[in-house]
Symmetry: C2
DNA sequence: TAATTATGATAGGTTTTGTCTATGAACATT
DNA sequence: AATGTTCATAGACAAAACCTATCATAATTA
């Protein structure tokens, strides 16, 4: 059976006339005759009672027509939702980011994207890199802002921003007197870290292990906010992403902030998504907006 | 768009794999690839995100699939109701008969048809010939038991029974002494007739005008039952169909019954229906049962 | 009653669509 | 690097839909 046949049936039922129905369907009258006969043959039932005066539905034809209208309604609905969705900048856009980025970036990004792509329905989800990657792979997420290069073969990334890292310390700390900080200058035993699972912890730890021989502290907390509070309370020092500074999170009287000199003391923010994603154009446009927000603040 | 394409979409969505879906649909994998691409092209939307690992639905694909399932459900329903209805002795059978037949015939006919055709859903409607003919023509009725030959060109009839006519009179009436009655023997001024619209009135009047010069009475009532009551009360005589007699309606102590001698004093009962009716087999079987009931009582 | 008109069915040929096999390209796994 | 898996592409072939021309039958009109 063909959807076209159901359209023909509907037309014949409405016009009660093969010729007019054919005209309405933009086909010839024999086409309609033949196709309806085929439909009737496949169903094993006479749907239309033919007269020279009027073609009328049989009782079973009425029932079939009612169901055909249901089917055609669903098909029409498919056409209408896909017509809307053929605009690449419409529909849901589900993206995530990691906890060490989202508080500084996402509020602004949501605002800008909402303004630039008003037909886009934005859905945001915060999680650690591992979970976001899973969600990307199984299709629950369209994109994620990550700070780690994509190792998963099915994913790819557009670079957004190379973010410097900053040292924060209590104002009275020895570090306050040094001008140009390097990792080797840091008292690593005083370092407050994020707990396992945060990619930013791994990056910090790698950086320290690479550039300093001092033993790392084992103090760890679950959020940058807690780190900042502890530093403000004079409980240690830490390394935080520059965005935390430019977003005003470090504007506290008890905290000093200094950049790290090393060129490797940065993290690379990327917009990561499936290589197979059919929404490349949208993803690139979104990445461009995000990069602009990051550059221009 | 083709219903088959929706089946393919569903299969790919379920198996998340073109090859397995193709196997499931009994077609080759390229067929599925090509057809899905065509579907996506006509809709202007990517429905499936292809990976070497799994083929997964895009968000719009999910929505389209949901609607496709609706459409396929309706199509399945069409197949299932038509499979049931392909039995010619199933479904609704809507028939009617005129008031001067139905009380004697329909109770028995309903019983017999219900027994012989248990899958048939019988719907009965009593009305005068004119209304029944209208209902036949516009398709609201499948058949009607009428006592008039079909004049309408689009209708045809199967003869059921040639029914004699009987004279009824009050027991003390003059007619009681005559043996073999003819219309010309009847005192037409005492005749009680049915009201206009009943074909049986017309037939009676025609018969009397043809075979007698006496002026007809103008007394008329709306039912045979009233006629019988009036005759029983000694208010006149009448002509009634033989079925009224054989059905026991005339078994009253005050009423005498005699047949009319004339060979034209009969009415022909027919099963009338549209020439174009697609249910010829059923109609003929039904007519046969009705004729049997009429013959065998 | 006969001619005319209207309607749906049928036949034969053309175009469009669907399907197959064979093969290719991209990626994942060994 | 080699192998295997997966979907896409190409070209040939088959099926289906469609069109024009024509027919048969019924309804209408002369």
């Amino acid at each position: 059976m063909n959807i076209r046949d159901l359209v023909y049936l509907r037309a014949i039922a409405r016009h009660r006339h093969f010729g007019k129905a054919a005209e309405n369907c933009n086909v010839s009258q024999p086409t309609l005759s033949v196709q309806l006969q085929k439909l009737e043959a496949t169903l094993g039932v006479i749907l239309i009672e033919r007269t020279k005066r009027a073609a009328m539905l049989t009782p079973i034809g009425e029932k079939v027509l009612a169901l055909a209208e249901d089917a055609l309604g669903a098909v029409d609905a498919i056409h209408s939702i896909t017509a809307d969705a053929s605009d690449p900048f419409s529909g849901q856009f589900r993206f995530g980011s990691i906890p060490t980025i989202s508080p500084f970036l996402v509020p602004k990004v949501l605002g800008v994207l909402g303004e630039k792509f008003p037909r886009l329905e934005l859905v945001f989800r915060e999680n650690i890199t591992e979970r976001l990657t899973e969600d990307l792979l199984n299709g629950d997420l369209d994109a994620a802002i990550l700070a780690t290069p994509t190792e998963t073969p099915r994913l790819m990334a557009i670079p957004l921003y190379e973010e410097p890292l900053m040292v924060i310390y209590p104002l009275g700390h020895d570090l306050a007197s040094l001008d140009d900080l390097d990792v080797s200058d840091l008292p690593l035993d005083q370092m407050i870290l994020l707990t396992e699972g945060h990619c930013f912890r791994d990056q910090t730890v790698d950086l320290c292990r690479l550039q300093s021989k001092m033993t790392l502290s084992e103090t760890s907390v679950t959020s940058l906010e807690t780190i900042i509070s502890l530093v403000a309370a004079g409980q240690g020092i830490s390394i935080v992403p520059a965005l935390a500074h430019s977003s005003g999170w470090l504007d506290r009287p008890q905290i000093g902030v200094k950049p790290l000199r090393s060129k490797t003391a940065t993290r690379q923010l990327n917009l990561t998504f499936r290589k197979s994603s059919p929404r490349r154009a949208l993803l690139e446009a979104v990445a461009e907006q995000m990069a602009r927000v990051l550059r221009e603040g």
